[in-house]
Structures are given as C-alpha cells and as structure tokens.
Amino acid sequence: MSKSTKTTSKQAKGYAGMTGADLFHKMLLAEGVEVLFGVPGGALLPIFDSLYETPIKFVLTRHEQGAAHMADGYARSTGKVGVCIATSGPGATNLVTGLATAYMDSVPMVAITGQVTSALIGNDAFQEADTTGITRPVTKHNMLIKRAEDIGRAVREAFYIARTGRPGPVLIDIAKDATSNILSEEPDLETNLPGYKPMLTGHIRQVKAAAEAINASKQPVLYVGGGVIISEASDILNKVAHRGNIPVTTTLMALGAFDESDPLALQMLGMHGTAAANYAIQECDCLIAVGARFDDRVTGKVETFASHAKIIHIDIDPTSISKNVKADIPVVGDAKDILEKMLPMIKSKGRKDWLGQIAKWKKAYPLHYDTGPKIKPQQVIESVGRLTDHDAIITTGVGQHQMWAAQFYGWRKPRQFLTSGGLGTMGFGLPAAIGAQFGNPGKTVIDIDGDGSFSMTMGELVTAVHYNQPVKVVVLDNCYLGMVRQWQEMFYERRYSATEHPCPDLSLIAEAFGAKGIRATDPGDLDDAINEMLKHDGPVVLAASVEPEENVFPMVAAGKSLHEMDMGRLV
C-alpha cells in the first residue's frame, strides 16, 4: 500500500448537466454495488427517482434497523461493502443501532441518509435530525454533503474508508437539494484524505522479534480474533499453527477462522469459552494475539489474564494495542501480511508436553449437556450442525442461544458465523441472515435465534418472503430472555425480574407472514423437523420448544479470572 493520500486521479467527464441524484447513482454503480437495502422518504425522493430503473437490486425493508443489519450481514458474509439507505430524521435515527453494531465489529458498510434542504439545516425543520452528530461515535467516518458537486467525491471516499485499514461503517448525509440540483460543471471526484493512512504492512523487525519469541516459547497459544477473518488470513494462520504446533483459540468474532475439527483447535475462549482454551491461556508462556482486542468478555479479570505469558499483539489498529493488556511485542499491520512474513521464520516444533496437557484438558472438560424429556437447546444446535454438514452460514441474536450456537455448531470456515459480538444487538439475526442470503444465493443461511431477539426484528420475515430469500430461522424458544434470566438465577437468587415474557406461537406468525412455520416439541422429532426446514425452498421458521431453564456453561462470572470457571453440573 502506498503512502499516497490521494487515490488515483479521476478526471470526471460527462457528469455536468445531470442531477446530484444521478451522479450518486452512477457512483454506486462505479463502486460495484449489487444490492441496496433501505426505506425511502421525503428527503430521498430525488435519489429514489434516479433509482427507478436501476440494475442495482433494491431491497425494501420493514425498518431501517433491518436495512442496516442486512447490509451488515451481506458485508460480513462476502467481505464486500454493504450499503443501506434511510431518509432524514427518523429514518436516520432508526439506522443508529445497525451502525453501532457494524462499528463495534469492524464491518465495511456505507450508509446513506437523506437530509433536509441545505437552507433549512439547523432550523428544526420537519424530519430534521443532526445525523452526523448523532452517528459520529458509531461510524468510522461521516460527512454532510450540501452541494451536488461534492457527492461523487464523498461516495468514493466513503467506500475507500469503509473497506480499508480496520473496516467500519461510513455515513454520508446528503441534503435534498444537493440531489435535486443540476451539476453546472464537471465535479471533482478526487478523494481528499491527507489524514487517512491505513497501515497495512507489518514492520519486518517486529515480525522477527515475534517469531523469535514464539520459537523460544514452550507453551504458546494463538489467540485469534475477527481481524483474521477480515484480512482473509485463515489459510496462513493454519500454516503458522501447524508449522509451530501451536494450539489455536478463537474469539466469538473469529469462529470459523480455524477449523474446530483440527486437533490444534481449542475452540472459543472467554466467558463461555471451553475449559481447554481458558486453561491454555492462563498457563501459556507466549500469547500470540492476532486481530483480537482483549475485550473484557474474553479476558475476564484482566490483571490475571495470561499473566505468565510474553504477549505478542498483531493488529491493524494501533489504538487496540496495549489498550487493555500491555503488549510486549506489538506488530501493527494487516494480519495476513504479517503472518505470511512470519511463516518462514517459525521453527517446526513437537511441543509434546504442552499438547499433551491440552489433550488432557479437552478430555476432562468437554463441552457437555444432559439430555432429557424436553428438547435441549444445545441438542438443536448440534443437530443443525450435523444436518448441514457444518457448512451453513449461521447468524444469531444475542443471548444464550448465541453462546450455544458458538459452542456447539462445529465451525469449519471463515465468514460462516455472523453474530453481533461487540455491541451484542438482539434482533441482528434475521436481517443479517437475509443480507447474507442476498450475498450468497444458493447457500443455506440459518438464523439461530432466541424468542426475545427474534421478536425485535421479525417484521423482516416479510422482506424475506417479498424477495423470495429462502432463509431459515431456528428459534430456541424458551419463553425467557434467557441470558438475563440465567444471571438472575445465578447471582440474584432466582428473582426473575422482567425476564419471563408472553410466548406466541412463532410458527403461526411465520405462516401469517407467508413463510413456512414448523414447531418441534419432542426430542425424537427434532432431526425430522430440521430436515423438513432445510428441504423447503423458501423462508421457514422452526420454533423449537426447549428446556426453559437450561444454563450456558462453562461460565466465567464477571470480574473473575479465566481459570475460575463454573463448569455447571458437570463437576
């Protein structure tokens, strides 16, 4: 990556005389946008008029939050920039949750919002909101465009910023008159970003220092975060791990970056991670963090996290390094580039004792649950994993079902698991699945959801029906806001305050929306129900009535150290 601050100079030709909206439309096409999710409104009328006959697939959603999550699911599953559009005022404020979700998980997205006519900005006009002010803390960058001539440059900057460096959502707020006005001259399309220098290549001296520390270590662990998926570094990670015989644990965001059927896999770490992963972290003498950010849900009590280890931290975002845990060897840059440089420096090692110890932990403390007369939620996930050959794209809501999905599906490939990790947004699952389905026609896309989370955005089921997107939804129906209930059970003497909620038959709701609805209540019927769902060529909601008071284990209580896990009923 060159250090130049300007992208290739674009001499605009033939744009004079068209409207700002037409220029905007042309710029989206030039960026290769295939699908656009959103809801129209007054401030967007010129733009929607220009989109009237567009080759871009426009997806009308039920709610702007849905549009943002769809763009997000599309982006996470394909690696391309997802695009959503909303009108001024309430349209823009409805996007905020989706932007914050994408921002926390570094998802490349461009959001376009209409704004009132430039002369009215600041006057509390009808449907005016200070959109750039509201969204500044939840976007990588945003801009307010008041002149038609600036639209082209803004779109190019937005896509460039969204997908480079540490990706993230970029918002362009466009005043209505900027889209209706006619360009009197050729616009300057050249980006002007003197302060934006995404650092991509890792410094060789730091890479060497890291490799030496790894070679000198006896008990190393690779702690892999979502950055590995974003930088498409899974293959090279696999090579580094195998060459050095280094066990690998993945964060929630990185599930799929390392095949869990590999003997070196420790699966997920952290609050609901496996015992083997958490013990390995606490015992390791060298921790290699790659594209991870030492989130508190991962580290537990931060003072005791990997306290015997030399810490190598590879990350593209310098602000992530030494933010929560001090790095002994920081390496700033793109994970793939750095791991590629590192591979030939890694000495091949047996590490018999260390791998032997890890094998013992895995054997002694496997992920586990008991079966019973009712369907167990973990059982549903295991069956879905088995019956889809561990090959489906899975999205989730937030709660217990999300953790069980993470623990029991059996992850094989990057971009297979799409979940709101950083913000923890209930309602993400269904719209993200629809977005992923648009990006992956023909693939099986399943939203593993909770009854509470699903209710938050289930209106988008209509969108799936409208556009014939055959997404599947498996609801682990426990009639509880289960994760909150679990904390109340464990830490608040079972005082279930506002966690029990009415439990409508979601399979009937699905039918009313024009999708297929299935309900499963008996463990013996579970596989058939899942197969029936998978076979149906269209959207399906499978509501599985599960054991309502099942808990997620292992669990590291908030503020505890990783090795102080509660294993549940197992031990």
């Binding site: 302060g195 410094h203 602000t319």
Partner: protein
Amino acid sequence: MKHVITALVQNTSGVLAHVAGMIAARGFNIDSLVVGRTEDPELSRMTVVVVGNEHVLEQIRKQLEKIITIVRVRDFKEIDYVERDLMLVRVSAPPEKRAEVVELVNLFRGRIVDVARQSLTVELSGPEAKLEAFVDMVKPYGIRELARTGIIAVQRGEQRAKERNEKENS
C-alpha cells in the same frame, strides 16, 4: 502529568466536535484545547493539554490519529518545545492601590491594555507557571474577570519529532 499534543486537522465541519466527543467518550482528562488557523488555509492546528500517565498519552495520541480528518499528530513527550498561554485579566485597582498593581505588571513584563477608574486590564503571556504566579500575586487586590487562551506549542529548532508509530514498528 501534563502532556502537550498538537494535531494538524482538516478544516471540515465537525472536526472539533469529533475531537471533543472522542475525548469525552473515552474519559480522557484534558486541561485545554485550542484551535487556530495555520499558514495553510485548508488546515488548522489543535493543541491539547492532556492530564494522565504515559498510557493515557499513548491512547489519546492514537485515538486522535484514527480520526480521518486529522492529518498529523505529534506529542512533545521527548522533544524540547516552546509553549505559550495568553491571559487577559481585569484587576481591581482603586487609585490608592494602582501603583502597586502596575509595579507587579512590570515585574512580570505584562502590558496594561485598558485602564478604568477602579480597575486595570492586563495582558500577560508566557508559560503556565508564570501566569499562575501572577494570578497568585494579584489575587489579594481582587480579580474581576479572567480569560486564558490555553496552551499553544511548537517545537524548538530543527529536531525531529518522534513519530511513535514508526518506533512501534522498528
């Protein structure tokens, strides 16, 4: 510990709000923040005085660099620099006390920029410590109004500012 950080920023709307918002959201403790034009009409310079340890300084510098419209950040941690703070202060100075106040102003090489029957307005610039010492001295006479610009700073001579990003990588 106080640290001085300066940033060259693009003159776009919202850049000040962005910096202020980031500082508030991340709970950084700042002493002052000054923005002014530079020789380049497209760029302004911000000077931020941060209170905190090395870790805080490091984070705030990196977070500033992350803002797209911020072109360059430098901290004066290991380089010699000149700092100035400008103060305007209106001090009570009835005729019988005026001579004493004027003497103090002269001792501090301040300038009297306005004279009224009961007060004097003084302009004083310099490093923070000097301004504070002056304030201490004139307090007994009664301070009616006081305004300060906050610190601005530039490096001394031709030394090279530490580009910490490069150091991290080398």
